[in-house]
Protein backbone atom coordinates (compact mmCIF):
# COMPACT_ATOMS: atom_id res chain seq x y z
CA UNK A 1 0.00 0.00 0.00
CA UNK A 2 1.34 3.40 -0.92
CA UNK A 3 1.69 6.25 1.50
CA UNK A 4 -0.80 8.15 -0.61
CA UNK A 5 -3.36 5.36 -0.19
CA UNK A 6 -2.75 5.23 3.55
CA UNK A 7 -3.30 8.95 3.80
CA UNK A 8 -6.45 8.65 1.80
CA UNK A 9 -7.74 5.92 4.08
CA UNK A 10 -6.80 7.97 7.12
CA UNK A 11 -8.77 10.85 5.68
CA UNK A 12 -11.80 8.62 5.17
CA UNK A 13 -11.48 7.40 8.76
CA UNK A 14 -11.33 10.97 10.01
CA UNK A 15 -14.50 11.81 8.09
CA UNK A 16 -16.18 8.69 9.47
CA UNK A 17 -15.32 9.76 13.01
CA UNK A 18 -16.73 13.22 12.43
CA UNK A 19 -19.91 11.73 10.99
CA UNK A 20 -20.27 9.41 13.98
CA UNK A 21 -19.86 12.30 16.39
CA UNK A 22 -22.53 14.26 14.57
CA UNK A 23 -24.87 11.26 14.63
CA UNK A 24 -24.40 10.96 18.40
CA UNK A 25 -25.01 14.68 18.83
CA UNK A 26 -28.16 14.68 16.71
CA UNK A 27 -29.49 11.63 18.55
CA UNK A 28 -29.07 13.57 21.78
CA UNK A 29 -31.87 15.97 20.82
CA UNK A 30 -34.97 15.85 23.01
CA UNK A 31 -36.82 13.60 20.55
CA UNK A 32 -33.96 11.14 20.15
CA UNK A 33 -33.16 9.38 16.90
CA UNK A 34 -32.33 6.22 14.98
CA UNK A 35 -28.80 5.73 16.27
CA UNK A 36 -27.87 2.09 15.76
CA UNK A 37 -28.69 1.75 12.07
CA UNK A 38 -27.08 5.10 11.34
CA UNK A 39 -23.83 4.14 13.04
CA UNK A 40 -23.60 0.74 11.34
CA UNK A 41 -23.80 2.44 7.94
CA UNK A 42 -21.12 5.08 8.52
CA UNK A 43 -18.29 3.36 6.62
CA UNK A 44 -20.59 2.74 3.65
CA UNK A 45 -21.76 6.36 3.63
CA UNK A 46 -18.25 7.72 4.08
CA UNK A 47 -16.78 5.59 1.30
CA UNK A 48 -19.58 6.60 -1.04
CA UNK A 49 -19.65 10.33 -0.31
CA UNK A 50 -15.89 10.89 0.00
CA UNK A 51 -14.56 8.52 -2.64
CA UNK A 52 -16.97 6.62 -4.82
CA UNK A 53 -19.85 8.88 -5.84
CA UNK A 54 -19.36 11.44 -8.60
CA UNK A 55 -21.07 14.32 -6.84
CA UNK A 56 -20.49 18.00 -6.20
CA UNK A 57 -21.97 19.71 -3.15
CA UNK A 58 -21.95 22.99 -5.07
CA UNK A 59 -24.13 21.43 -7.76
CA UNK A 60 -26.39 18.91 -6.04
CA UNK A 61 -28.63 18.69 -9.13
CA UNK A 62 -25.81 18.11 -11.63
CA UNK A 63 -27.44 15.91 -14.28
CA UNK A 64 -24.29 13.79 -14.56
CA UNK A 65 -24.03 13.01 -10.86
CA UNK A 66 -24.21 9.52 -9.42
CA UNK A 67 -27.29 8.69 -7.38
CA UNK A 68 -27.47 7.45 -3.80
CA UNK A 69 -30.78 6.34 -2.30
CA UNK A 70 -31.17 5.55 1.38
CA UNK A 71 -33.80 2.85 1.17
CA UNK A 72 -33.44 2.30 4.93
CA UNK A 73 -34.74 5.81 5.41
CA UNK A 74 -34.74 5.57 9.18
CA UNK A 75 -30.97 6.02 9.00
CA UNK A 76 -31.66 9.61 7.91
CA UNK A 77 -29.49 10.99 10.70
CA UNK A 78 -26.59 9.03 9.24
CA UNK A 79 -27.29 10.48 5.80
CA UNK A 80 -27.81 14.03 7.08
CA UNK A 81 -24.59 13.86 9.09
CA UNK A 82 -22.72 12.65 6.01
CA UNK A 83 -24.24 15.40 3.87
CA UNK A 84 -23.15 17.93 6.48
CA UNK A 85 -19.63 16.52 6.54
CA UNK A 86 -19.50 16.59 2.74
CA UNK A 87 -20.74 20.18 2.49
CA UNK A 88 -24.26 19.66 1.13
CA UNK A 89 -26.00 21.03 4.20
CA UNK A 90 -25.14 23.46 6.95
CA UNK A 91 -24.10 21.64 10.14
CA UNK A 92 -25.62 24.46 12.18
CA UNK A 93 -29.00 23.84 10.61
CA UNK A 94 -28.68 20.10 11.17
CA UNK A 95 -28.03 20.85 14.84
CA UNK A 96 -31.66 21.99 14.96
CA UNK A 97 -32.85 18.48 14.13
CA UNK A 98 -35.95 17.55 16.09
CA UNK A 99 -36.92 21.12 16.87
CA UNK A 100 -40.23 22.51 15.66
CA UNK A 101 -39.93 23.96 12.17
CA UNK A 102 -36.73 22.11 11.26
CA UNK A 103 -36.50 20.72 7.71
CA UNK A 104 -34.69 17.66 9.00
CA UNK A 105 -37.36 15.07 9.58
CA UNK A 106 -36.65 11.59 10.94
CA UNK A 107 -36.87 10.22 7.41
CA UNK A 108 -35.12 11.88 4.45
CA UNK A 109 -36.84 14.84 2.85
CA UNK A 110 -36.18 15.70 -0.78
CA UNK A 111 -35.98 19.43 -0.19
CA UNK A 112 -32.65 18.91 1.56
CA UNK A 113 -29.73 19.22 -0.89
CA UNK A 114 -28.24 15.82 -1.60
CA UNK A 115 -31.38 13.85 -0.74
CA UNK A 116 -32.52 12.32 -4.02
CA UNK A 117 -35.81 10.80 -2.91
CA UNK A 118 -37.79 10.66 0.31
CA UNK A 119 -37.72 7.22 1.91
CA UNK A 120 -38.76 5.71 5.20
CA UNK A 121 -41.47 3.26 4.34
CA UNK A 122 -39.24 0.25 3.81
CA UNK A 123 -38.80 -1.50 0.50
CA UNK A 124 -39.11 1.52 -1.80
CA UNK A 125 -35.46 2.18 -2.66
CA UNK A 126 -34.78 -0.70 -5.04
CA UNK A 127 -37.63 0.14 -7.46
CA UNK A 128 -36.66 3.80 -7.43
CA UNK A 129 -33.06 2.81 -8.12
CA UNK A 130 -34.15 0.73 -11.10
CA UNK A 131 -35.90 3.78 -12.52
CA UNK A 132 -32.77 5.93 -12.18
CA UNK A 133 -30.56 3.14 -13.56
CA UNK A 134 -32.84 2.42 -16.52
CA UNK A 135 -32.99 6.13 -17.33
CA UNK A 136 -29.19 6.27 -17.31
CA UNK A 137 -28.92 3.26 -19.61
CA UNK A 138 -31.45 4.69 -22.05
CA UNK A 139 -29.60 8.01 -22.07
CA UNK A 140 -26.18 6.44 -22.55
CA UNK A 141 -25.07 7.97 -19.25
CA UNK A 142 -22.16 6.65 -17.15
CA UNK A 143 -24.21 7.31 -14.03
CA UNK A 144 -24.13 4.64 -11.32
CA UNK A 145 -27.00 4.26 -8.88
CA UNK A 146 -26.38 3.10 -5.31
CA UNK A 147 -29.08 2.06 -2.89
CA UNK A 148 -28.54 1.18 0.79
CA UNK A 149 -30.92 -1.31 2.36
CA UNK A 150 -31.33 -2.47 5.91
CA UNK A 151 -31.26 -6.19 6.50
CA UNK A 152 -34.60 -6.19 8.30
CA UNK A 153 -35.91 -4.27 5.30
CA UNK A 154 -35.28 -7.34 3.16
CA UNK A 155 -38.38 -8.86 4.76
CA UNK A 156 -40.44 -6.50 2.58
CA UNK A 157 -41.65 -8.29 -0.55
CA UNK A 158 -41.17 -5.23 -2.74
CA UNK A 159 -37.39 -5.63 -2.32
CA UNK A 160 -37.50 -8.97 -4.09
CA UNK A 161 -39.97 -7.78 -6.70
CA UNK A 162 -37.41 -5.15 -7.62
CA UNK A 163 -34.45 -7.51 -7.23
CA UNK A 164 -35.96 -9.79 -9.85
CA UNK A 165 -36.79 -6.86 -12.10
CA UNK A 166 -33.34 -5.27 -11.95
CA UNK A 167 -31.61 -8.49 -12.95
CA UNK A 168 -34.08 -9.03 -15.78
CA UNK A 169 -33.25 -5.60 -17.17
CA UNK A 170 -29.51 -6.27 -16.91
CA UNK A 171 -28.89 -3.09 -14.93
CA UNK A 172 -25.21 -3.40 -14.05
CA UNK A 173 -25.11 0.32 -13.20
CA UNK A 174 -27.21 -0.47 -10.12
CA UNK A 175 -25.39 -1.32 -6.90
CA UNK A 176 -27.18 -2.24 -3.69
CA UNK A 177 -25.60 -2.33 -0.25
CA UNK A 178 -27.16 -4.35 2.52
CA UNK A 179 -26.35 -3.05 6.00
CA UNK A 180 -26.18 -6.52 7.49
CA UNK A 181 -26.07 -5.63 11.17
CA UNK A 182 -28.22 -8.64 12.03
CA UNK A 183 -30.69 -6.74 14.18
CA UNK A 184 -34.10 -5.25 13.64
CA UNK A 185 -36.32 -3.37 16.06
CA UNK A 186 -37.01 -6.13 18.58
CA UNK A 187 -34.19 -8.60 18.01
CA UNK A 188 -32.17 -10.71 15.61
CA UNK A 189 -33.28 -10.97 12.00
CA UNK A 190 -32.56 -14.70 12.13
CA UNK A 191 -34.89 -15.17 15.10
CA UNK A 192 -37.70 -13.06 13.63
CA UNK A 193 -37.71 -13.86 9.91
CA UNK A 194 -34.45 -15.47 8.76
CA UNK A 195 -32.55 -14.00 5.82
CA UNK A 196 -29.73 -16.50 5.44
CA UNK A 197 -28.29 -17.76 3.21
CA UNK A 198 -28.46 -14.14 2.14
CA UNK A 199 -25.74 -14.13 -0.51
CA UNK A 200 -27.21 -17.20 -2.17
CA UNK A 201 -30.61 -15.60 -2.22
CA UNK A 202 -29.34 -12.55 -4.08
CA UNK A 203 -27.28 -14.74 -6.43
CA UNK A 204 -30.35 -16.79 -7.23
CA UNK A 205 -32.09 -13.55 -8.22
CA UNK A 206 -29.35 -12.89 -10.78
CA UNK A 207 -27.16 -10.43 -8.87
CA UNK A 208 -23.39 -10.32 -8.49
CA UNK A 209 -22.73 -10.64 -4.76
CA UNK A 210 -19.82 -9.70 -2.52
CA UNK A 211 -19.57 -9.71 1.23
CA UNK A 212 -17.25 -7.51 3.27
CA UNK A 213 -16.59 -6.34 6.79
CA UNK A 214 -18.83 -3.32 6.55
CA UNK A 215 -16.88 -1.46 9.20
CA UNK A 216 -13.63 -1.82 7.21
CA UNK A 217 -13.66 1.36 5.20
CA UNK A 218 -10.98 0.30 2.73
CA UNK A 219 -12.77 -2.94 1.93
CA UNK A 220 -16.07 -1.15 1.51
CA UNK A 221 -14.53 1.54 -0.65
CA UNK A 222 -12.66 -0.92 -2.87
CA UNK A 223 -15.75 -3.08 -3.41
CA UNK A 224 -18.04 -0.18 -4.25
CA UNK A 225 -15.50 1.61 -6.44
CA UNK A 226 -15.00 -1.54 -8.51
CA UNK A 227 -18.68 -2.22 -9.20
CA UNK A 228 -20.16 -3.56 -11.41
CA UNK A 229 -18.41 -6.83 -10.74
CA UNK A 230 -20.12 -8.79 -13.52
CA UNK A 231 -21.15 -7.21 -16.83
CA UNK A 232 -24.91 -7.17 -17.28
CA UNK A 233 -25.71 -7.88 -13.65
CA UNK A 234 -26.65 -5.59 -10.79
CA UNK A 235 -24.32 -5.82 -7.80
CA UNK A 236 -25.09 -6.22 -4.14
CA UNK A 237 -22.56 -5.68 -1.38
CA UNK A 238 -23.49 -7.42 1.83
CA UNK A 239 -21.77 -5.27 4.42
CA UNK A 240 -21.41 -7.22 7.66
CA UNK A 241 -21.77 -4.52 10.27
CA UNK A 242 -22.53 -3.94 13.93
CA UNK A 243 -25.61 -2.02 14.91
CA UNK A 244 -24.45 0.94 16.97
CA UNK A 245 -20.84 0.51 15.77
CA UNK A 246 -18.42 2.85 17.51
CA UNK A 247 -20.35 3.33 20.73
CA UNK A 248 -19.49 0.27 22.83
CA UNK A 249 -22.26 0.63 25.40
CA UNK A 250 -24.96 0.33 22.72
CA UNK A 251 -23.17 -1.65 19.97
CA UNK A 252 -24.80 -4.94 19.10
CA UNK A 253 -27.86 -4.16 21.19
CA UNK A 254 -31.28 -3.99 19.51
CA UNK A 255 -32.07 -1.11 21.87
CA UNK A 256 -29.59 1.00 19.92
CA UNK A 257 -32.25 1.20 17.18
CA UNK A 258 -33.72 4.38 18.61
CA UNK A 259 -32.10 6.27 21.45
CA UNK A 260 -32.45 9.53 23.22
CA UNK A 261 -29.10 10.24 24.83
CA UNK A 262 -28.88 12.28 27.99
CA UNK A 263 -26.06 14.82 28.17
CA UNK A 264 -24.03 12.35 30.22
CA UNK A 265 -24.57 9.54 27.73
CA UNK A 266 -23.73 11.85 24.87
CA UNK A 267 -20.44 12.80 26.50
CA UNK A 268 -19.68 9.16 27.23
CA UNK A 269 -20.42 8.19 23.63
CA UNK A 270 -18.18 10.92 22.27
CA UNK A 271 -15.30 9.85 24.48
CA UNK A 272 -15.75 6.26 23.32
CA UNK A 273 -15.72 7.33 19.69
CA UNK A 274 -12.50 9.25 20.17
CA UNK A 275 -10.85 6.26 21.82
CA UNK A 276 -11.40 3.88 18.94
CA UNK A 277 -13.22 3.98 15.68
CA UNK A 278 -14.69 0.52 15.06
CA UNK A 279 -12.52 -2.12 13.48
CA UNK A 280 -9.34 -0.11 13.55
CA UNK A 281 -7.30 1.99 15.93
CA UNK A 282 -8.03 5.59 15.26
CA UNK A 283 -5.45 8.30 15.64
CA UNK A 284 -7.33 11.45 14.78
Amino acid sequence: MTVLTENRTDLLRAHALNIRERIVDVCSNPEGGHLGGSLSLVEVLTALYFDVLRIDPAHPDDPHRDIFLLSKGHAAIGLYSTLAERGFVDPAELAGYGTTGSRFMAHPVRSIPGVEMPTGSLGHGPALAIGFALAAKLSGSRRRVFVALGDGELQEGSVWEAAMGAAGLGLDNLIAVVDRNGLQLTGSTEDICPLEPLGDRWRSFGWAVREVDGQNIEAVRDALAGAPWMPGRPSVLIARTTKGAGVPFVAGNPKSHYVNFSERQQARARIALRRAAPGEAHHG
Binding site: A127, G131, S158, L169
Partner: protein
Protein backbone atom coordinates in the same frame (compact mmCIF):
# COMPACT_ATOMS: atom_id res chain seq x y z
CA UNK B 1 -74.80 6.57 -30.73
CA UNK B 2 -72.18 4.31 -32.20
CA UNK B 3 -69.75 2.42 -30.06
CA UNK B 4 -66.24 3.70 -30.36
CA UNK B 5 -62.94 2.10 -29.53
CA UNK B 6 -62.48 0.98 -25.95
CA UNK B 7 -60.79 3.83 -24.08
CA UNK B 8 -57.76 1.67 -23.39
CA UNK B 9 -57.30 0.97 -27.09
CA UNK B 10 -57.79 4.61 -27.99
CA UNK B 11 -55.07 5.44 -25.47
CA UNK B 12 -52.77 2.69 -26.75
CA UNK B 13 -53.07 3.82 -30.34
CA UNK B 14 -52.45 7.44 -29.42
CA UNK B 15 -49.42 6.58 -27.31
CA UNK B 16 -47.97 4.44 -30.09
CA UNK B 17 -48.02 7.54 -32.26
CA UNK B 18 -46.69 9.89 -29.61
CA UNK B 19 -43.76 7.81 -28.36
CA UNK B 20 -41.58 8.23 -31.47
CA UNK B 21 -42.36 11.96 -31.54
CA UNK B 22 -41.36 12.69 -27.94
CA UNK B 23 -37.98 11.32 -26.97
CA UNK B 24 -38.47 11.64 -23.21
CA UNK B 25 -41.62 9.50 -23.12
CA UNK B 26 -41.36 5.91 -21.94
CA UNK B 27 -44.03 3.23 -21.66
CA UNK B 28 -43.77 0.76 -18.77
CA UNK B 29 -46.05 -2.25 -18.94
CA UNK B 30 -46.89 -4.97 -16.41
CA UNK B 31 -47.63 -7.64 -18.99
CA UNK B 32 -51.15 -6.33 -19.47
CA UNK B 33 -51.25 -7.50 -23.07
CA UNK B 34 -52.52 -4.10 -24.12
CA UNK B 35 -49.47 -3.46 -26.29
CA UNK B 36 -49.19 -6.85 -27.96
CA UNK B 37 -48.38 -6.29 -31.60
CA UNK B 38 -47.94 -2.53 -31.25
CA UNK B 39 -45.10 -1.14 -33.34
CA UNK B 40 -43.41 1.73 -31.52
CA UNK B 41 -41.03 2.15 -34.44
CA UNK B 42 -37.90 4.07 -33.56
CA UNK B 43 -39.11 4.24 -29.94
CA UNK B 44 -39.18 0.46 -29.46
CA UNK B 45 -36.50 0.60 -26.74
CA UNK B 46 -38.81 2.89 -24.76
CA UNK B 47 -41.48 0.25 -24.35
CA UNK B 48 -40.49 -1.95 -21.38
CA UNK B 49 -42.57 -4.87 -20.14
CA UNK B 50 -41.33 -5.29 -16.56
CA UNK B 51 -43.53 -8.25 -15.67
CA UNK B 52 -46.34 -8.51 -13.15
CA UNK B 53 -44.96 -6.14 -10.54
CA UNK B 54 -47.05 -3.09 -9.73
CA UNK B 55 -44.99 -1.73 -6.83
CA UNK B 56 -41.89 -2.01 -8.93
CA UNK B 57 -43.77 -0.27 -11.74
CA UNK B 58 -44.61 2.79 -9.68
CA UNK B 59 -41.19 3.06 -8.04
CA UNK B 60 -39.37 2.67 -11.34
CA UNK B 61 -41.59 5.30 -12.89
CA UNK B 62 -40.71 7.72 -10.10
CA UNK B 63 -36.99 7.08 -10.61
CA UNK B 64 -37.33 7.63 -14.34
CA UNK B 65 -39.36 10.78 -13.81
CA UNK B 66 -36.75 12.10 -11.38
CA UNK B 67 -34.25 11.56 -14.20
CA UNK B 68 -36.24 13.76 -16.57
CA UNK B 69 -38.47 11.19 -18.27
CA UNK B 70 -42.25 11.09 -18.55
CA UNK B 71 -43.37 7.50 -17.95
CA UNK B 72 -46.76 6.16 -18.99
CA UNK B 73 -47.34 3.19 -16.69
CA UNK B 74 -49.87 0.50 -17.36
CA UNK B 75 -51.88 -1.76 -15.10
CA UNK B 76 -55.48 -2.30 -14.12
CA UNK B 77 -57.17 0.31 -11.96
CA UNK B 78 -57.61 -2.21 -9.15
CA UNK B 79 -53.89 -2.97 -9.00
CA UNK B 80 -52.76 0.62 -9.39
CA UNK B 81 -55.11 1.97 -6.79
CA UNK B 82 -55.17 -0.61 -4.05
CA UNK B 83 -52.05 -2.69 -4.53
CA UNK B 84 -49.49 -0.06 -5.43
CA UNK B 85 -51.02 2.92 -3.69
CA UNK B 86 -48.16 3.40 -1.24
CA UNK B 87 -45.64 3.68 -4.06
CA UNK B 88 -47.98 6.10 -5.81
CA UNK B 89 -48.36 8.13 -2.63
CA UNK B 90 -44.73 8.32 -1.56
CA UNK B 91 -42.66 7.87 -4.69
CA UNK B 92 -44.90 9.67 -7.17
CA UNK B 93 -47.38 12.05 -5.48
CA UNK B 94 -45.09 13.23 -2.64
CA UNK B 95 -42.43 14.13 -5.20
CA UNK B 96 -44.97 15.50 -7.73
CA UNK B 97 -43.39 13.30 -10.39
CA UNK B 98 -44.86 13.50 -13.92
CA UNK B 99 -45.92 9.86 -14.05
CA UNK B 100 -48.99 8.94 -16.11
CA UNK B 101 -50.87 6.12 -14.41
CA UNK B 102 -53.04 4.60 -17.13
CA UNK B 103 -55.49 2.44 -15.24
CA UNK B 104 -57.67 0.13 -17.31
CA UNK B 105 -60.67 -1.93 -16.20
CA UNK B 106 -61.98 1.02 -14.18
CA UNK B 107 -65.30 0.82 -12.37
CA UNK B 108 -67.35 -2.28 -13.22
CA UNK B 109 -65.79 -2.62 -16.66
CA UNK B 110 -63.98 -5.80 -15.62
CA UNK B 111 -67.48 -7.25 -15.51
CA UNK B 112 -67.35 -11.02 -15.26
CA UNK B 113 -63.78 -10.94 -13.93
CA UNK B 114 -65.30 -10.15 -10.54
CA UNK B 115 -64.54 -7.83 -7.63
CA UNK B 116 -60.82 -8.69 -7.57
CA UNK B 117 -60.53 -6.93 -10.92
CA UNK B 118 -63.30 -4.34 -10.59
CA UNK B 119 -62.27 -0.99 -9.18
CA UNK B 120 -64.86 1.12 -7.40
CA UNK B 121 -62.54 2.99 -5.02
CA UNK B 122 -59.95 4.59 -7.27
CA UNK B 123 -61.42 8.08 -7.44
CA UNK B 124 -61.68 8.26 -3.66
CA UNK B 125 -58.14 7.03 -3.15
CA UNK B 126 -56.46 9.06 -5.87
CA UNK B 127 -58.21 12.33 -5.18
CA UNK B 128 -57.06 12.15 -1.58
CA UNK B 129 -53.43 12.44 -2.70
CA UNK B 130 -51.85 15.90 -2.93
CA UNK B 131 -50.39 16.82 -6.34
CA UNK B 132 -52.44 14.17 -8.17
CA UNK B 133 -54.55 14.92 -11.24
CA UNK B 134 -57.45 12.47 -11.68
CA UNK B 135 -59.34 12.13 -14.95
CA UNK B 136 -62.13 9.89 -16.25
CA UNK B 137 -62.56 10.32 -20.00
CA UNK B 138 -66.10 9.57 -21.13
CA UNK B 139 -65.30 8.16 -24.57
CA UNK B 140 -62.47 7.33 -26.95
CA UNK B 141 -62.15 10.85 -28.34
CA UNK B 142 -61.91 12.29 -24.84
CA UNK B 143 -59.28 9.69 -23.99
CA UNK B 144 -57.13 10.77 -26.91
CA UNK B 145 -57.44 14.42 -25.91
CA UNK B 146 -56.40 13.63 -22.36
CA UNK B 147 -53.42 11.58 -23.51
CA UNK B 148 -52.26 14.51 -25.61
CA UNK B 149 -52.67 16.86 -22.66
CA UNK B 150 -50.75 14.46 -20.44
CA UNK B 151 -47.53 14.96 -22.38
CA UNK B 152 -46.83 18.37 -20.85
CA UNK B 153 -48.92 18.24 -17.67
CA UNK B 154 -46.86 19.01 -14.56
CA UNK B 155 -47.11 16.46 -11.76
CA UNK B 156 -48.70 13.03 -11.74
CA UNK B 157 -51.85 11.95 -13.55
CA UNK B 158 -54.24 9.10 -12.84
CA UNK B 159 -56.48 8.20 -15.79
CA UNK B 160 -59.33 5.75 -15.30
CA UNK B 161 -59.99 3.88 -18.52
CA UNK B 162 -62.58 1.26 -19.32
CA UNK B 163 -62.10 -2.18 -20.78
CA UNK B 164 -64.59 -2.45 -23.59
CA UNK B 165 -66.04 -0.08 -26.15
CA UNK B 166 -68.64 2.33 -24.86
CA UNK B 167 -70.96 4.60 -26.86
CA UNK B 168 -69.49 7.87 -28.07
CA UNK B 169 -70.69 11.14 -26.59
CA UNK B 170 -73.02 13.05 -28.91
CA UNK B 171 -71.47 14.67 -31.96
CA UNK B 172 -70.24 18.19 -31.36
CA UNK B 173 -68.97 17.67 -27.80
CA UNK B 174 -65.66 19.46 -27.50
CA UNK B 175 -62.56 17.61 -26.30
CA UNK B 176 -62.22 17.91 -22.51
CA UNK B 177 -59.79 20.35 -20.96
CA UNK B 178 -58.24 19.01 -17.77
CA UNK B 179 -59.65 20.81 -14.75
CA UNK B 180 -62.62 22.38 -16.52
CA UNK B 181 -66.02 20.73 -16.13
CA UNK B 182 -67.93 20.30 -19.36
CA UNK B 183 -71.51 21.61 -19.70
CA UNK B 184 -73.23 19.11 -21.99
CA UNK B 185 -76.74 20.46 -21.48
CA UNK B 186 -78.11 23.63 -19.97
CA UNK B 187 -80.72 23.12 -17.32
CA UNK B 188 -83.17 24.69 -14.95
CA UNK B 189 -84.14 23.42 -11.54
CA UNK B 190 -82.04 20.25 -11.65
CA UNK B 191 -78.36 19.60 -12.33
CA UNK B 192 -77.00 16.15 -13.14
CA UNK B 193 -73.26 15.79 -12.52
CA UNK B 194 -71.62 12.66 -13.93
CA UNK B 195 -68.22 11.13 -14.58
CA UNK B 196 -67.23 8.26 -16.88
CA UNK B 197 -68.81 6.85 -20.04
CA UNK B 198 -72.02 5.21 -18.85
CA UNK B 199 -72.83 7.70 -16.08
CA UNK B 200 -72.49 10.66 -18.47
CA UNK B 201 -74.68 8.92 -21.03
CA UNK B 202 -77.18 8.03 -18.31
CA UNK B 203 -77.31 11.67 -17.27
CA UNK B 204 -77.86 12.83 -20.86
CA UNK B 205 -80.59 10.26 -21.46
CA UNK B 206 -82.23 11.11 -18.13
CA UNK B 207 -82.19 14.81 -18.99
CA UNK B 208 -84.00 14.07 -22.26
CA UNK B 209 -86.58 11.95 -20.46
CA UNK B 210 -87.08 14.56 -17.75
CA UNK B 211 -87.58 17.29 -20.35
CA UNK B 212 -90.48 15.25 -21.63
CA UNK B 213 -92.00 15.56 -18.18
CA UNK B 214 -91.44 19.26 -17.96
CA UNK B 215 -88.30 19.16 -15.83
CA UNK B 216 -85.25 20.89 -17.22
CA UNK B 217 -82.09 19.17 -16.05
CA UNK B 218 -78.62 20.39 -16.91
CA UNK B 219 -75.76 17.93 -17.41
CA UNK B 220 -72.20 18.50 -16.27
CA UNK B 221 -69.47 16.09 -17.35
CA UNK B 222 -67.02 16.14 -14.46
CA UNK B 223 -64.23 14.36 -16.36
CA UNK B 224 -61.60 15.78 -14.00
CA UNK B 225 -62.06 14.66 -10.41
CA UNK B 226 -58.94 16.49 -9.30
CA UNK B 227 -58.28 19.38 -9.52
CA UNK B 228 -62.01 19.66 -8.99
CA UNK B 229 -63.66 22.47 -10.95
CA UNK B 230 -65.43 24.00 -7.96
CA UNK B 231 -66.24 27.24 -9.74
CA UNK B 232 -67.71 25.40 -12.72
CA UNK B 233 -69.82 23.26 -10.44
CA UNK B 234 -71.04 26.16 -8.32
CA UNK B 235 -71.92 28.09 -11.45
CA UNK B 236 -73.81 25.17 -12.97
CA UNK B 237 -75.63 24.48 -9.71
CA UNK B 238 -76.73 28.11 -9.27
CA UNK B 239 -80.50 28.36 -9.24
CA UNK B 240 -81.11 24.63 -9.03
CA UNK B 241 -83.00 22.96 -6.23
CA UNK B 242 -81.55 19.49 -6.77
CA UNK B 243 -78.17 18.16 -7.82
CA UNK B 244 -77.85 14.47 -8.67
CA UNK B 245 -74.43 12.85 -9.01
CA UNK B 246 -73.89 9.76 -11.16
CA UNK B 247 -70.78 7.62 -11.06
CA UNK B 248 -69.51 4.10 -11.51
CA UNK B 249 -67.83 4.09 -8.10
CA UNK B 250 -68.76 3.25 -4.56
CA UNK B 251 -70.96 6.01 -3.23
CA UNK B 252 -68.27 6.92 -0.72
CA UNK B 253 -65.46 9.22 -1.53
CA UNK B 254 -65.82 9.70 -5.27
CA UNK B 255 -67.68 12.22 -7.41
CA UNK B 256 -70.70 12.37 -5.12
CA UNK B 257 -68.48 13.16 -2.19
CA UNK B 258 -66.54 15.81 -4.08
CA UNK B 259 -69.74 17.50 -5.26
CA UNK B 260 -71.22 17.35 -1.77
CA UNK B 261 -68.11 18.77 -0.16
CA UNK B 262 -68.00 21.66 -2.60
CA UNK B 263 -71.67 22.60 -2.65
CA UNK B 264 -72.28 22.14 1.07
CA UNK B 265 -69.45 24.56 1.77
CA UNK B 266 -70.10 27.13 -0.92
CA UNK B 267 -73.64 26.83 -2.31
CA UNK B 268 -75.82 24.45 -0.29
CA UNK B 269 -78.46 22.62 -2.27
CA UNK B 270 -80.17 19.27 -1.95
CA UNK B 271 -77.94 16.49 -3.33
CA UNK B 272 -78.69 12.89 -4.26
CA UNK B 273 -75.86 10.50 -5.03
CA UNK B 274 -76.17 7.63 -7.49
CA UNK B 275 -73.35 5.13 -7.46
CA UNK B 276 -72.39 1.63 -6.48
CA UNK B 277 -73.96 0.64 -3.15
CA UNK B 278 -71.72 -0.38 -0.26
CA UNK B 279 -71.18 -3.90 -1.54
CA UNK B 280 -69.02 -6.06 -3.79
CA UNK B 281 -70.64 -7.34 -6.99
CA UNK B 282 -72.16 -10.66 -6.05
CA UNK B 283 -72.86 -12.24 -9.41
CA UNK B 284 -71.56 -12.53 -12.95
CA UNK B 285 -72.55 -9.82 -15.37
CA UNK B 286 -71.32 -7.58 -18.14
CA UNK B 287 -70.56 -3.96 -17.28
CA UNK B 288 -73.99 -2.95 -18.55
CA UNK B 289 -75.71 -5.76 -16.61
CA UNK B 290 -74.00 -4.76 -13.39
CA UNK B 291 -74.74 -1.06 -13.86
CA UNK B 292 -78.36 -1.96 -14.42
CA UNK B 293 -78.44 -4.27 -11.41
CA UNK B 294 -76.93 -1.71 -9.07
CA UNK B 295 -79.05 1.17 -10.35
CA UNK B 296 -76.50 3.29 -12.18
CA UNK B 297 -78.80 4.01 -15.11
CA UNK B 298 -80.75 6.78 -16.81
CA UNK B 299 -83.95 5.41 -15.33
CA UNK B 300 -82.50 5.51 -11.83
CA UNK B 301 -81.54 9.14 -12.41
CA UNK B 302 -85.06 9.98 -13.61
CA UNK B 303 -86.69 8.25 -10.65
CA UNK B 304 -84.32 9.96 -8.23
CA UNK B 305 -85.13 13.36 -9.68
CA UNK B 306 -88.86 12.72 -9.61
CA UNK B 307 -88.71 11.46 -6.03
CA UNK B 308 -86.85 14.53 -4.86
CA UNK B 309 -88.84 17.07 -6.85
CA UNK B 310 -92.34 15.65 -6.41
CA UNK B 311 -93.06 17.68 -3.28
CA UNK B 312 -92.31 20.84 -5.18
CA UNK B 313 -90.58 22.20 -2.08
CA UNK B 314 -87.42 24.12 -2.58
CA UNK B 315 -84.80 23.08 -0.09
CA UNK B 316 -83.53 26.12 1.74
CA UNK B 317 -79.85 26.43 2.45
Amino acid sequence: MADTLPARQAYRNRLAGLLPEHDRLICLDTDTGLFTGVDFGTAAARYVNIGIAEHNLMGMAAGLAASGWTPFVNTMAAFATSRAVEAIKIDIAYNAMPVRIMATHGGLSAGHLGPTHQCLEDLAVMRALPNMTVVVPADAAATEALVDAAIELPGPLYARLGRKATPALPAGVEPPVIGTAQRLRAGGEVLLVATGPYPVLAALDAATALAGQGIEAGVLNMHTIKPFDEAGLIDAAAGTRLVVTVEEHWRSGGLGAAVTETLSEHAPVRIARIGMPDTFAGHVGSQEDLLDHYGITADAVVQTVLRHTSTGKRTQP
